[in-house]
């Protein structure tokens, strides 16, 4: 198909507005993406028609809502090529998914003296849950260091793997820097020691095709809202073997088979991990987002985004005094930079006045900012609806910032 960005932009109503009298440039996609009209319509249609609680009622509406809900799960399964629908657990978001793994896996498998490996590039969401479970169980948290080019040091990782290592939890693409991690190699290396790997794919699934069977990851976590779907929905993919072995995360209704005051039997997968009424409307809305992405094709999206990123890097690099973080590393979707010694907060405040949404600060990844010895950065994160003209607008704003703080 022909990739026509102007045509695609028409599908996203929120892109068409003025901020401080200028057309919005939305470069905060790594925080959350905008939503296509089909997603917005689907959510609204759900509430106007089949709204009812799922997996419970025998009545017609409840069955329709359940069918739509399970259809979304099946679609997610197909999209990531999971072997079974039961391996797709619906959560509140990637953070919720990671907490589930850390808590349930940790409770079952971690004990005093064991080790958990994460990386230097992680988002706080893939640091803190592991810190907490390590504290509870007496396990130790180990961190894969960075090479000089801000990629993960695989040689060091190789040496960290040992009999005490119980799980490796690593991001697919770094949210703060956009660095694409070699997860394939990491998974292979860990599997040589029979160690399972959880991939935080919150940024990963957005920018490239994810096939969980080909990757052979044991868990893959992501959020709907960064992937053009609604907020409040996430996915935990887990191999049946692990999900069956792990104890429930939260308890209550829906996740049970039978309850007496003496004993409760838990439901089958994936329901064992889905307690309470789920966010039905948004889970269904997420299916529309996936269909929308499939219609365009993630391969087309990747080609366009890589080209746009390259254009952006070249344009920004040409600005005197601008420094791109992790410049040499393989990247997707993100340019994280600093401008001379101007504080990111100062730069972001002025860039905002140009109607351009960028993120400033440590991007919930304080450890990597500390490692790079920067107070944070300015992050422009792109989606396939962004354009070269928008990059030019960003360049114009950056030049103004440089002038104002000279």
């Amino acid at each position: 198909m022909n990739f026509d960005v102007q045509q695609i932009r028409k599908d996203f109503p929120a892109l068409h507005q003025e901020i401080y009298g200028r057309p919005l440039v939305y470069f905060d996609n790594a925080a959350t993406s905008q939503k296509p009209q089909v997603v917005i319509d689907r959510i609204s249609e759900y509430y106007r028609t089949i709204n009812s609680n799922v997996h419970r009622g025998v009545h017609h509406l409840s069955q329709q809502a359940t069918d739509a809900f399970e259809s979304s799960r099946n679609h997610i399964q197909q999209y990531i090529n999971a072997q079974h629908a039961r391996e797709v657990v619906i959560t509140k978001g990637a953070t919720d998914s990671i907490n589930l793994v850390a808590s349930s896996f940790g409770q079952k498998y971690l004990k005093q003296g064991d080790e958990v490996i994460i990386s230097s590039l992680e988002h706080h969401a893939n640091i803190v849950p592991w810190q907490v479970i390590c504290e509870k169980t007496g396990a130790q948290l180990k961190v894969i260091p960075l090479t000089e080019s801000s990629t993960l040091d695989l040689q060091a990782f190789q040496k960290m793997l040992n009999k005490k290592t119980k799980i490796v939890a690593v991001g697919h693409i770094s949210n703060a820097l956009g660095v694409v991690n070699p997860i394939r190699e990491i998974i292979e290396m860990a599997h040589d020691f029979d160690i399972p790997v959880m991939v935080d794919g919150a940024q990963g699934i957005v920018h490239e095709k994810v096939d969980v069977q080909a990757l052979d990851c044991d868990f893959y976590c992501f959020s709907s809202h960064k992937f053009y779907g609604p907020m409040g929905v996430g996915v935990l993919y887990g191999k049946t073997y692990w999900l069956s072995a792990m104890p429930p995360y939260q308890t209550g209704g829906e996740m049970i088979k039978s309850v007496t005051f003496e004993k409760t039997t838990y439901n089958d997968l994936p329901f064992k991990f889905e307690t309470g009424t789920p966010n039905v409307a948004d889970v269904i809305g997420f299916e529309s987002a996936i269909k929308y992405i499939e219609d365009i094709g993630i391969a087309h999206i990747k080609t366009y985004e890589d080209d746009l990123l390259e254009y952006g890097i070249q344009k920004l690099k040409a600005i005197d005094g601008l420094r791109i973080l992790a410049e040499g590393a393989p990247k997707a979707g993100v340019i994280s930079f600093l401008l001379k010694d101007i504080h990111p907060y100062d730069a972001g405040t002025i860039i905002d006045k140009f109607g351009i949404a960028v993120r400033t600060g440590n991007h919930c990844a304080q450890p990597v900012m500390d490692l790079l010895e920067v107070p944070g950065s300015i992050r422009a994160s792109m989606a396939f609806y962004n354009t070269r003209e928008e990059i030019d607008r960003l360049v114009e704003a950056i030049l103004k910032v440089r002038e104002m703080f000279a």
Binding site: Y20, I342, H343, P344, Y345, D346, T349, I350, K353, T360, G361, P375, G376, K400, M404, F405
Partner: protein, 144 residues
């Protein structure tokens, strides 16, 4: 100048600018001209939490008036804290506690009062008023 006069003076200065860029340029100038805090105050004890940039505020009581000093690693934040210092510093604690801060809205910086701005203006104001409360109590104790 009392609190009210200082605030009125700032409103007057900002009324000269029609567009945001001039306002921010002025704020940047004010940031650069902020009397800097002594390095010894740049510790966690004086750090205002809730800011994306780091801001330190110190206060001391001189002849019954509170003298504030501040610094930040971001210039716009320094400009903003300088505005607060011009209004609050060298004022009796009571006046600081009762100060009306509608001038921030009037000069078109209301957006900085929103909690999502994370520049900590709200936290700065809170901390400065808190200092004033402490000094007021101290003065009362001395008087008694």
């Amino acid at each position: 100048m009392n609190v009210e006069d200082s605030a009125a003076q700032i409103v007057k200065e900002f009324s000269l600018f029609d567009d945001w860029m001039d306002k921010y340029n002025y704020l940047i100038e004010m940031g650069k001209s902020l009397p800097l805090i002594d390095e010894k105050y740049k510790t966690d004890q004086y750090l205002i939490s809730g800011c994306q940039s780091r801001v330190w505020v110190s206060a001391e009581l001189v002849d019954g008036k509170v003298v504030f000093k501040a610094d930040s690693d971001a210039v716009i934040t320094k400009g903003i804290v300088n505005l607060l210092i011009r209004v609050f510093s060298n004022q009796p604690p009571e006046d600081i506690i009762d100060a009306d801060l509608s001038f921030i809205d009037e000069i078109g910086l209301k957006e900085h009062l929103s909690p999502t701005r994370s520049n900590g203006l709200v936290s700065m104001i809170k901390q400065m008023k808190l200092y004033a409360v402490v000094f007021k109590t101290k003065l009362k104790d001395q008087g008694a």
